[in-house]
């Protein structure tokens, strides 16, 4: 093979970067630094400024910019990035960029597509400010589409593991970075999850962000190896991994529900490695605060992860102990430690993927933990129907043990929990061919890709998804600062698909659980790629539709300023056959009594939730009318939820 003299080495696919593995805020550990690798962005500018992530080191308290790091500087490149240090702001920028990119990569892989942020014109990236303000907080600001990290001085008298008066940076915690970036991504995937229409919505945002943070952390084998080596015994209790999680700085509600879900029955004492953990199903009924409630979700997923991980290392233990299960005294064999760490990290990745992939199977609005369980089960079933490692069964059991039951299911058997399949329901196929006969004849077993369709969806889907507000009619009244960004000069998106979908929705409204007498909006549309168990590449299409009850919001006393919405997620295979219709209906004259009962239950639940929040909303007493008209939406304020004014 000929190679020219001027052979140019293609760019490296991965970029290794050093980060702190453990939150320096809670102390330094042996092996606290690791190297993670992320996809390499060519043309990465100083900042770092990439295509989707832009780090801007502006300090609002001091009104200064800090020197931006150039990760492509050969000296820096050669050493896998700058060495971890608290005193060089460029390392902080590096770490924030690295962890954010890792989160994005996990989402890209699990979802089978590249997430793009729906941001303001001229700034298509998610912005991260590593030293934005002085304070013990870090939060995602949906208005700015940015993540602001605070920094503060450790207490003189009670510095914890830090030096008194030392600077402490929230941007140096892998978990905090990953948690916040996840909020931003969830907001991108489901913007209405910022409308707290029931007790679970805010909690889901928190819990899911914690799940991504923790499990991403567990996917770094170097971290686990160290810990497994140290805690040699007790591979049968999850408590050690939980202690590890808390060393990560995982402080969701002080990990209360996680601890009490996995602690011994006598409550909130220190985690005892010996005792058997027992989840408390009453917590789901009583805990309201988003962190506390979100912790229940984390605990459930963690539970399932741990059982699966245990099953996976069973054979290793058998081999290592000759069947007795009793590990020898002294240190574990390093090979054993490696293999166990690998299994743990592999399982963590599997769980992470499953948790992220479930997003495709969520309705566009009004999420509950029960919905998420159904989505998890359906997503995992699609990928591996036979549940080889038992992860799915473990997940179901873990949710059940915590009293989380989905609405409207007949039983907790797996088949019942999966979203109902729409195949054979009589719902017409998505019209992907010009020829109506071809559309009708599409065979679900026949997986074929219409070239036109594939090209269209690959090309226009992103554009369409990134600006659904382009549709002329059906525009929803923005309230929660969900104002459509005024991007008139963005490229002309191909609206062909949007129109096709809207027409389809109108024509089949009732079957899609949408009220035909109300405007329907195409909320989003994108393709999904996955490999099925037979090794074939499948292309699916996911479309989201929403509508709202126009009159509901104005009764501010009852509505709290929130809209009452209906919405449906439709999943279809590439040949147009609709496979799932995942809906949250509004009441409609055209629906069956059963469907209306479901819709009414949702409305009543939303109203009851407003009353519940009102009762304990101290801001309400002192607020003005503007607040009153927007109060419930304001309750899902990331800055406030994450603030530690503390009690």
């Amino acid at each position: 093979m000929k190679r020219s003299f001027d052979f140019k080495q293609p760019a490296a696919p991965r970029r290794p970067l050093k980060i702190y593995a453990f939150d320096p805020m809670i102390g330094r550990r042996q092996g606290g630094r690791i190297i993670i690798d992320i996809p390499n962005e060519t043309d990465l500018e100083a900042g770092p400024k990439g295509k989707r992530i832009k780090v801007i080191d502006y300090d609002g308290a001091n009104d200064v910019f800090y020197s931006p790091v150039n990760l492509d500087d050969p000296a820096i490149l050669m050493q896998n990035g700058l060495d971890p240090t608290e005193s060089d702001p460029r390392f902080h920028q590096q770490m924030v960029y690295a962890v954010a990119m890792k989160v994005l990569e996990n989402f890209d892989i699990a979802l089978g597509r590249k997430i793009k942020f729906r941001t303001r014109p001229g700034t298509p990236e998610l912005r991260l400010f590593p030293h934005a303000f002085q304070g013990e907080n870090a939060f995602y600001d949906p208005g700015m589409k940015a993540i602001l990290f605070g920094y503060f001085r450790a207490d003189e008298k009670d510095p914890g593991p830090n030096i008194p008066g030392q600077n402490v940076f929230t941007c140096l915690s892998q978990d905090i970075i990953a948690h916040e970036v996840t909020h931003a991504i969830v907001d991108r995937l489901r913007r209405y999850f910022r409308e707290p229409t029931n007790r679970d919505v805010a909690a889901f945002h928190e819990g899911f962000s914690d799940i991504v943070a923790i499990f991403q952390h567990f996917t770094f084998p170097a971290v686990l190896r160290e810990h497994i080596r140290e805690t040699r015994g007790n591979l049968h209790s999850p408590n050690n991994l939980i202690m590890l999680a808390s060393e990560f700085g995982y402080s969701t509600g002080e990990g209360k529900a996680l601890r009490s879900a996995l602690d011994p029955v006598d409550g909130n004492g220190p985690v005892n490695p010996e005792k058997k953990p027992m989840p408390d199903p009453t917590l789901y009924r009583t805990l309201l605060e988003p962190h506390d409630r979100g912790s229940i979700l984390v605990a459930a997923v963690f539970d399932a992860f741990f059982k699966t991980y245990q099953a996976r290392i069973d054979d290793l233990i058998r081999i290592a102990t000759g069947g007795t299960g009793n590990l020898p005294e002294g240190d574990l064999h390093p090979d054993l430690v490696n293999r166990i760490a690998q299994e743990a990290s592999r399982t963590a990745q599997t769980v992470l993927n499953m948790c992220i992939r479930a997003f495709e199977y969520l309705p566009p609005i009004d999420i509950t933990f029960g919905d998420y369980l159904r989505a998890l089960v359906t997503a995992d079933f699609e990928l591996s129907p036979s549940d080889d490692v038992g992860l799915r069964a473990n997940m179901i059991e873990a949710f059940r043990a915590r009293g989380i039951y989905p609405d409207n299911v007949a039983s907790l058997a797996e088949e019942s929990l999966r979203w109902e399949s729409s195949e054979g329901s009589g719902l017409p196929n998505l019209p992907i061919y010009d020829d109506p006969d071809k559309n009708a004849a599409a065979d679900p077993q026949q997986v074929c890709l219409s070239a036109y369709w594939l090209e269209s969806i690959l090309d226009s889907a992103y554009k369409a998804s990134s600006s659904p507000e382009k549709q002329k009619s059906d525009s929803l009244q923005p309230n929660v600062k969900l104002k459509p960004e005024k991007d008139d000069d963005e490229e002309d998106a191909s609206t062909a698909i949007l129109n096709v979908l809207r027409t389809y929705a109108k024509d089949n409204a009732v079957a899609l659980d949408l009220d035909p007498d109300r405007p329907i909006r195409v909320e989003g549309f994108h393709p999904v790629f996955r490999v099925n168990p037979r090794g074939q590449l499948l292309v699916e299409m996911v479309a989201q539709f929403t509508q709202r009850d126009e009159k509901f919001q104005e009764h501010y006393d009852v509505s709290g300023g929130l809209n009452l919405r209906g919405g449906t997620t439709v999943i279809a295979s590439a040949n147009g056959v609709v496979r799932y219709v995942i809906s949250k209906p509004l009441e409609s004259e055209k629906f069956s009594p059963q469907k209306n009962a479901e819709a009414r239950m949702r409305r009543e639940r939303q109203e009851a939730f407003v009353r519940e929040l009102d009762q304990t909303d101290m801001n309400l007493t002192w607020s003005n009318y503007g607040y009153f008209r927007n109060r419930i939406a304001r309750s899902l304020n990331f800055k406030a939820i994450h603030r530690t004014l503390g009690k």
Partner: protein
Amino acid sequence: MTQDNHVSIRMYNIGFGDCFLLKFPAPKRHRKVLIDCGVHFLGRNKEQPFDDVVKQLIEDIKEDGVPTIDLVIATHRHQDHVSGFENEVWNDVEVGEVWMPWTENYEDKQAIEILLSQSSKAKKVHQLLDKMLTNPKLFGLEHQEQIDQIKEIKGFSENSLKNPEAMNMLHHGFKRKNDIPRKYLPFRDRQLNTIKPDFLPDVTVHVMGPSFDDKVIASMEPPKAEQWFKMMEDRGNSETPPVFPFHADWSRKPAELATANEILGRRDRRRIQTVDDDTAFNLAKGVEDAVNGTSLMMMFHVGNAYLFFPGDAQHGTWQSALEDDEWRELLTKTNFYKVGHHGSHNATPKEFVHKVLRAESKCRAMVSVYPVKIFEQIPKDKLLADLVALPAEYVRSDKVVDPGDPEGFVRTPLYVDTKIPI
């Protein structure tokens, strides 16, 4: 001459605050109960100077020239409920007994802890706000708007300050000083909270709050915000160097960077600079609510009169009361309601108005309030409308409502009266 068949209730037009005088019929002389006397710093009645109202009150309680009260009740130590007691005239008032919430009992260790943490936090907030107003530049306050807002918050925070003279009067003052028996309520033993004071014949007082529920007691703890305080104190202290997290060589002011606006526009920079602007107000609110949590909640029952005074009690205490079968039963008979916390939104639970109050009771309600700019929603219109819809009748202390005060209420510039039949 005093065997009337009614209890009379006088709501003084005191401004944003509470001051209620109850007269119960009894042999030989009316028995008088005073519930609170105070006005909020931000809510002084411009038409009726506070001191005039207090003077009127003293006149009203005179018997043979001696101002006499059988029972003085201070529901909680907020300025708008106790500031009136600062006035030295109270040293000449004959008081039979004084009731206060259990958190005022200086011999109760838990009470002392709560008091200390509330008052020290209130003081801290107030002092900090003061500093912010004396040296706004140090705190990054550049616009007049911001400074005005801090002024308002400072006025707001006055309410939770110690009020030492007033509290001293309540604890150790009035004519007979320390010889006056003082009760700290409610008792932890539920049975003891049904009180039949011997100086109030035929009257039973049910003390329903503050609740001893863990959550309610937790709510009496103001937010800590240690970190934020430290930061603000550092800022305000010109001797502490500003917190520069990095060596100066790493930083550049926007003016020094040609590309500053490209990297981050001015508007966004401003937005980041003001990111913590609402902390001061939130903190002040938190302190205010902590003290409201200590508020007494009582019902006076004599004959057919069921007079309900919830003070400024909040959700937790209300819930305990409504969940208690005996108390709930009593509450359904309420025919006089002192609207909680000057008519604010959730100081009167919807459940109380829609499910507990009965139309048959023909309830009369009084709202002691005065318009304050930053308290836009006090009193809450919807609450007042719901009361009227019951049907119940209400009046405000500060003005006549459209189209006029309901029958059964008699108004003068300094007070509004009503009578509840026994």
